[in-house]
């Protein structure tokens, strides 16, 4: 038991009672404070925060029951045991109704008193523990609410509104869904929404990111295995298909799944049966499949990363989530959402955004899509001064002039082919300017040309900062 839990305040105007109680309780390792009046008792209550008060109902300066009310108002969690003479027994019962833990008649028996004190402190400890758990639950509920809000997609733009309508229409069905889109557009959020609006919403949604597991392990994760099926299989593992039973299986980055496993998985989709590794028992597979890939489907198919037959099986419904730069109307509500979330998370008031900073957010191309916007807003909320986010509080990339911003994530887009010298020169100039945050003098130095030459070339290639 913590030290503070053993602090006891005795309020009684009779010195013999006060002293014997103090001696008795001190001998049993309680920390004892004593007061002969209600006023001094209430002061000690505030100063010392005792876990338990032994309160006489007949005090010279106050009614005992009123003092009890004051104690309970000041510190509701503090337990109170009433010390009562025989003639105040009915008051003692009244005191129980007002929140006292118990009462004990004078002259008290030491064993009875000690037992009562022990039980009262135990109750106090349990109450405190309950309160801590309640607070923790509230925190978790708050975090869950934030997480749920964070996961809620924004359907402001027309493109997203169409997706919303499509989800509404097909979510209640059992149809497979393939979600495509660049990294960070919110494919998983869309998958969550499909599950939430489906008839399987009460059942689990199990997620497997095929890119997050070594290819050799994906099979075991998906199908499950029996103990001894392979080296390291020390226990039976049901696998994600089993875990998603009656629910939804979300396979992210499905194009990263090994080709032979794609074939095996296709059979599961067709036959709705499968076997765990090392098992001869055929199991029923009852899940709704939602898959996602950030590779353009045509590219994945041409590179044989995604088997055509699996693609056609998956593609009952395809949702292509557009990149954020193509749905700028979604940026303001997303900014508002993230501002609120991060302010809550940091326990701060929600900062405002200066108009020029807001314009930067709208103008920026967001190659990392919603995820990048989310990170940028977290960065900005952390750095916000006087509840205001200015341009300086935005990530350096966002602060860059539009001309110097990347419009696509690295490695995305058309495969590199032969470019004209002019294109290459323009790209080199843009890269240098971006690297130097628009500083032309430094960019010229980096490119190994004179500043006037850089100006001429910028004019020639229509680069405006």
């Amino acid at each position: 038991m913590a030290v503070e839990n053993r602090r006891i305040l005795i309020v009684d105007d009779e010195r013999p009672i006060l002293l014997t109680l103090e001696a008795l309780l001190s001998r049993h390792n309680y920390q004892v404070e004593t007061a002969a009046t209600a006023a001094s008792g209430l002061k000690l209550l505030k100063d010392k925060s005792p876990a338990l008060v032994l309160l006489d109902l007949q005090l010279p300066d106050a009614e005992g029951l009123e003092t009890l009310d004051q104690i309970k108002a000041e510190r509701p969690e503090t337990q109170v045991i009433i010390l009562t003479a025989h003639d105040t027994l009915s008051n003692a019962i009244e005191s129980i109704k007002r929140g006292a833990y118990h009462f004990i008649s004078k002259p008290y028996a030491s064993e009875e008193l000690l037992s009562l004190v022990g039980r009262a402190l135990e109750k106090q400890s349990l109450l405190r523990e309950t309160e801590e758990l309640r607070q923790r639950t509230q925190q978790l509920e708050k975090r869950l609410e934030i997480a749920e809000t964070r996961s809620a997609p924004i359907f402001k733009s027309k493109a997203m509104q169409r997706i919303d309508e499509l989800i509404n229409a097909m979510a209640p069905s059992e149809a497979n869904v393939l979600i495509t889109g660049e990294s960070g557009v919110g494919k998983e959020v869309i998958a969550n929404l499909i599950h939430a609006r489906s008839r399987r919403a009460e059942k689990p949604m199990v997620k497997l990111n095929c890119a997050a597991f070594p290819q050799t392990l994906i099979e075991g994760e998906l199908f499950g295995y029996m103990k001894g099926a392979f080296t390291g299989a020390t226990n039976d593992f049901p696998g994600m298909i089993a875990e998603a039973s009656d629910g939804t299986l979300f396979l992210d980055e499905i194009s990263e799944m090994p080709a032979d496993l794609q074939t095996r998985f296709l059979r599961v989709l067709q036959e709705r049966e499968y076997r765990s590794l090392g098992s001869t028992r055929t199991l029923k597979a009852d899940f709704r499949l939602v898959a996602a890939t950030n590779r353009p489907v045509a590219q994945a198919l041409s590179e044989n990363r995604l088997r055509t037959d699996l693609y056609y099986r998956l593609n009952t419904f395809q949702i292509e989530v557009p990149p954020l730069r193509e749905r700028k109307e979604d940026i303001p509500p997303l900014v508002a959402l993230f501002l609120k979330q991060f302010a809550q998370q940091l326990g701060r008031s929600e900062p405002a955004i200066a108009p020029d900073a807001f314009q930067k957010l709208v103008d920026y191309s967001w190659p990392g899509n919603v995820r990048e916007l989310q990170n940028a807003m977290e960065y900005a909320v952390v750095l916000a001064r006087k509840d205001l986010i200015g341009v300086k509080e935005l990530p350096a990339e966002v602060q860059l002039p539009v001309a110097l911003q990347r419009t696509e994530r690295p490695g995305a887009g058309a495969p590199p082919g032969v470019q004209s010298l002019d294109d290459m020169e323009r790209a080199a100039i843009l890269q240098a300017l971006a690297q130097c945050h628009g500083n032309k003098k430094k960019a010229a130095q980096l490119l190994g040309i004179q500043r006037p030459t850089l100006y001429n070339k910028m004019k020639r290639y229509a680069i405006e900062l």
Binding site: E14, R15, P16, I17, L19, T20, A23, L24, H86, D87, L89, S90, I93, K97, S105, K106, P107, A109, S110, E111
Partner: protein
């Protein structure tokens, strides 16, 4: 079936004090359980009475009766209970002063007719102040109830021969009892509202402290003198 009547043999039964104590405590315990339930039930009925002032008043009276029953049982039960001391060094003068204040509180009228004399100086006694105070209060209560002489009571505390000595002198013009077994004859004098346990309880408490309780009647001064003797602390005198 005819009602049982005690025979000569039964009235002469020799029942030990220990058995009587167990009997009283058990009976008290059982009855108090029911009384507590009755008290709570009465409180509940009082709440049901709502705005009916007359009914509420009746319930209040009922609760008063129940509380009185509980108090009597508690008092009897406590009076025959074992004494478990929680001792500490205590300044004898403080003890007398605490006693005097308690008397004023509990016996506001009678205590006015007590002359106090305290000559204990800085002597320390090792006592359970709560229980010892109860013992002395009982002696005073006894005196107030049975006083049949004129004049004030005299309470004197002092130190003599390494002992704390407290005497209470009561004027008694009509004392006819023997003081031989003073405090050693529990339930010997039972009448309505009086169970003859108080003096016995006081004696038990005093003897648990290593002290003694004696009384003698002085016909010359027509006074009953009760004397309490307690050892004083050897470490601090």
């Amino acid at each position: 079936m005819p009602a049982a009547t005690p025979t000569e043999d039964q009235s002469d039964l020799n029942v030990s004090w220990g058995n009587i104590v167990r009997f009283v405590r058990q009976l008290s315990h059982d009855l108090r359980n029911d009384l507590n339930a009755a008290e709570l039930q009465a409180a509940f009925v009082g709440e049901l009475a709502g705005a009916d002032a007359e009914l509420k008043e009746e319930v209040k009276r009922l609760r008063g009766f129940i509380a009185k029953l509980a108090v009597t049982l508690q008092a009897v039960s406590t009076a025959v209970g074992q004494v478990s001391l929680n001792t500490m060094p205590y300044r004898a003068a403080d003890f007398i002063e605490d006693l005097r204040q308690k008397m004023v509180k509990d016996f506001p009228v009678e205590s006015a007719a007590v002359n106090w004399e305290n000559q204990t100086g800085d002597a320390m006694i090792v006592i359970d102040p709560q229980l010892l105070q109860l013992a002395l209060l009982e002696i005073f209560r006894n005196a107030f109830q049975h006083q049949c002489g004129e004049g004030p009571l005299a309470a004197k505390a002092g130190i003599n021969d390494k002992k704390f000595i407290f005497t209470l002198q009561e004027p008694k013009a009509c004392f006819e009892l023997s003081t031989e077994n003073w405090g050693r004859d529990p339930i010997g004098n039972v009448r309505q509202g009086h169970y003859g346990l108080g003096l016995n309880r006081a004696r038990v408490i005093l003897e648990a402290h290593g002290g003694e309780l004696r009384a003698h009647y002085d016909p010359k001064t027509s006074a009953l003198v009760t004397t309490i003797t307690l050892p004083i602390s050897q470490a601090e005198k």
